[in-house]
């Protein structure tokens, strides 16, 4: 009698699942599929073709996929290769507290070109993928100008505080903050435009807003003082780096594929106004899919005329971790990070570090998140191309997440032990 097992059946979305099949004929070709429906009703699917061993067993931790959405030994491949039927949809959990993603794993005892979703599997398992852990608390934040959601780990605390910033998508994205809270950090998912009464469009970076958020976080009884961390991606990482430069409260900053110069719109902090590097619409490129490649669209921060837009990283008092995807089609992330590190070196600072991931794209997310090839954005009628080769991107997500957690533990706990 054959069996399909997937353990743990319910876990955090960043925890691996061990998938095994037993009791099948030896050396049998089988198809494993995964499917999930997101909160908007979009269906995501993946499949891989495997062969059972001489005793009729299949262990995804050891067996290679021959084909399908990925090839080779990838125990979590069915998760990170999930693709939406409709083009350019990003898998993003909205309600992070009350429900998981339910992923249905199906086993078929044939391989073929057919659409397996219309066939009866011989075995099926459903696993729950949660974005928060039991005891994590979510607090809606509406204080002063600050808008967002605070995620507190279970327990008395105090916990290291982190501000979580996403990019040009706008709105409030909570799933990374809630996952970090499940790992013991008090995280404020901070919105800055296109959310509630915040401006609809991003037209300038008002750093005092982010300072208000930092102070609000530090004032919370369950948040450690005197310093907080920032985790930021894309446009958010430009802001995160600016926070690191100008706000002494920020002692540990993770910048994922961000610019190290102010681009497109100015940054304001008290009396200081940093003019942006100009953008060149004529350098937009269209990929074969019709998605827009922004890679060459911004002026060069190494150009002499743009120096006043480059962020003064040497002023940052805390530590900075740059996470770079080498196949980023949106941002010249590696060049930016290298320029910033060079700048730190020139000022005798060594508080910056870069992790470069070959094959990874722009949207480096927590582990097992499916690669999003391109997705719609508010300003252009075409979707934006993010880049990334699926397998390499998945590896980058897994590795960088561990590094990010280590980085925060190292630099935020230390701050506490200085007291």
């Amino acid at each position: 009698m054959f069996q399909l097992t997937a353990t743990p059946a319910s876990a955090l979305a960043d925890e691996p699942v061990h998938i095994r099949v037993t009791g099948l004929p030896p050396l049998q070709l089988v198809t494993l599929t995964a499917s999930l429906k997101d909160e908007k009703g979009n269906v995501f699917r993946s499949k891989a073709f495997y062969k059972t061993n001489e005793v009729g067993e299949l262990d995804l931790m050891k067996a290679p996929a021959f084909g399908g959405d990925y090839v080779g030994v990838h125990p979590m491949g069915l998760f990170w290769s999930l693709k939406c039927q409709k083009a350019f949809r990003r898998l993003l959990k909205q309600d992070v507290m009350n429900s998981p993603f339910w992923v249905t794993l199906n086993l078929y005892d044939t391989v073929g070109l057919q659409d397996f979703s219309t066939e009866e599997p011989i075995a099926s398992q459903v696993v729950q993928r949660w974005f928060s852990a039991p005891g994590v608390q979510r607090v809606q934040v509406r204080e002063g100008r600050v808008r967002g959601a605070l995620f507190l780990p279970p327990g008395e605390g105090p916990f290291p505080g982190v501000i979580d910033l996403f990019g040009g998508r706008g709105g409030l994205v909570e799933f990374r903050a809630s996952l970090l809270a499940a790992h013991g950090l008090a995280v404020l998912a901070l919105a800055y435009f296109a959310y509630e009464d915040l401006p609809e469009l991003l037209q300038e970076i008002d750093l005092e807003y982010f300072e208000e958020a930092a102070n609000l976080l530090l004032a919370h009884p369950k948040v450690q003082t005197p310093g907080i961390g920032v985790i930021s991606v894309s446009k958010g990482a430009e802001i995160g780096l600016a926070m690191a430069c100008f706000l002494k409260q920020v002692v540990a900053t993770v910048c994922i594929n961000g610019s190290t110069a102010i681009c497109e719109f100015p940054l304001r902090y008290k009396d200081l106004v940093i003019a942006p590097i100009p953008t060149f619409m004529e350098r937009l490129q269209f990929d074969i899919s019709g998605a827009v490649r922004l890679l060459h669209y911004r002026g060069d921060p190494r150009d002499k005329v743009n120096q006043r837009s480059v962020l003064p990283v040497e002023k940052a008092q805390g530590s900075i971790l740059f996470i770079v995807g080498e196949n980023d089609e949106c941002s010249k992330s590696r060049e930016y990070a290298e320029q910033a590190l060079h700048q730190l070196q020139n000022h005798g600072r060594n508080n910056g570090r870069m992790l470069v991931y070959p094959g990874a794209g722009h949207l480096i997310e927590p582990p097992y998140a499916p690669l999003c090839y391109a997705s719609p954005n508010l300003k252009l009628s075409s979707p934006l191309l993010w880049g990334g080769e699926p397998t390499a991107h998945a590896t980058a997500q897994e590795h960088s997440w561990g590094e990010i957690l280590k980085f925060f533990r190292q630099h935020l706990i230390q701050a506490r032990s200085k007291l």
Partner: protein, 421 residues
């Protein structure tokens, strides 16, 4: 006053057009757009950003595109970078004789937001005709015995080299390459072999006798030069083209575009003898980041387990071969198959071949300036097949290979008349 010129205004689809804009401000950045509607009304668009020189001129033969659907100096970029509004729709001309494709070229000020272009009138525009036949080419429907296809005759008196044009697994009857070759002086038979009229919808075997009859039909035609004919074939069609060259000594010049050196999927029968195919392993299908299905490794298992006898005995062919390979072919492992076939010829001491291998080119290599079709939906399989190819190198490969194909066919089909005094 802004002026836009494009010459020639009416031409064969494989002829280049010289596009120029004058009367702009010095160094003004403009958007050039091309659009066309196919015979069913499906729209295709392309755009590129150019900067005028100090005299306010943009000459596409000299100026580089700064962005858009292609970058760099590409005088015909607006044509080969055309993209369908409906994702994966392929640009195909059905009626090759009676009407051209009309291509609109439009110029806009780059101050315009991309989203406003659809609702704003261009500063200046013009329309070009792109034809698939030259004046005087005759189209004759063929229904001789079992043969189904279309014969295209070049204009003029006398005899011309004859070729048979074979497409691949899509089936039906595709005429546009044959009509273009006729426009360049070849009697061209676009030959259907399945999924057309009373031909089988989904054949279970390939009957080479059918193709032999086509060869004899062509050689009997009063306008065909002989004594040999040529074949231009792609994909599954190239499996058949190669097999014809092996069995039929009248086939003296064979162009094989991205084809296998073994029998794909279904067996071949010739004079009652059955040749077995290699089977596709569905488990070796690979799905890329966009969800497109890549089959180029799906014959590896069968090839590993097979003996040498399952490769087509190319050394038996008496004519010449031109292999055209797209190195980025995601449907068939074309480069590996072509190299193996030429190595086999070399082992038998034969040098009757040329291999042209194009980096960045995909499976569907077509006449010049055809937009890259990188994938097609197969609704019966709920799959989209990835053909491969990167837009710019694929266009370069199409331009180069088309000239080489015609040179090759003329060289081996037209006897050189030397005057001996």
């Amino acid at each position: 006053m802004i002026q836009l010129t494009a010459t020639p205004a009416s031409a064969l689809v494989d002829e280049p057009v010289h596009i120029r804009a004058t009367g702009l401000s010095p160094f003004q950045v403009v958007i050039l757009q091309a659009s066309l509607a196919d015979e069913k009304g499906n729209l295709f668009h392309s755009q590129a950003y150019y900067k005028a020189n100090e005299a306010g001129e943009v000459d596409l033969q000299q100026a580089p595109s700064l962005g858009g659907d292609y970058i760099g100096v590409h005088p015909m970029g607006l044509f080969w970078s055309l993209k369908p509004e409906k994702f994966l729709m392929k640009l195909v001309k059905k009626d090759v004789v009676n009407s051209p494709f009309l291509v609109q070229i439009k110029l806009y000020d780059s101050n315009l937001q991309l989203t406003d272009i659809a609702t704003t009138a261009p500063k200046v525009s013009l329309t070009l005709e792109r034809w698939y036949v030259a004046p005087g080419v005759k189209r004759i429907q063929v229904r001789e015995g079992p043969l189904r296809g279309t014969l295209f005759l070049p204009p003029g008196e006398g005899r011309f080299p004859g070729i048979i044009d074979l497409f691949g697994g899509i089936g039906g009857l595709i005429e546009y390459r044959a009509s273009l070759l006729a426009s360049h002086g070849f009697v061209s038979l676009a030959l259907a072999y399945f999924n057309y009229e009373d031909l089988p919808a989904q054949p279970e075997k390939t009957e080479l006798d059918y193709f032999e009859e086509a060869v004899n039909f062509l050689l009997r035609h009063p306008k065909v030069l002989g004594p040999g004919i040529g074949i231009v074939s792609i994909s599954k069609g190239a499996e058949i083209g190669l097999s014809m060259a092996i069995h039929l000594k009248q086939v003296t010049a064979t162009v094989l575009i991205n084809g296998p050196n073994f029998i794909l999927g279904i067996p071949q029968v010739y004079h009652g003898q059955i040749s077995k195919p290699l089977a596709l392993s569905p488990q070796s299908l690979s799905i890329n980041a966009l969800g497109l299905a890549e089959f180029q490794h799906s014959f590896e298992e069968a090839r590993r387990e097979a003996s040498e006898t399952s490769l087509l005995p190319i050394e038996k062919a008496q004519g010449h071969f031109l292999f055209i390979v797209g190195e980025d072919d995601k449907n068939l492992n074309s480069k590996v198959y072509a190299e193996q076939a030429t190595q086999q010829l070399s082992r038998y001491g034969k040098n009757n071949w040329t291999l042209l291998s194009y980096p960045g080119a995909g499976h569907l290599l077509e006449p010049p300036y055809s937009p890259l079709c990188c994938a097609s939906e197969i609704s019966s399989l709920h799959l989209s097949i990835h053909w491969g190819g990167e837009v710019t190198p694929h266009a370069a490969a199409q331009e180069h290979s088309w000239k080489e194909i015609q040179k090759f066919l003329r060289k081996h089909l037209v006897p050189v008349v030397t005057s001996q005094l």
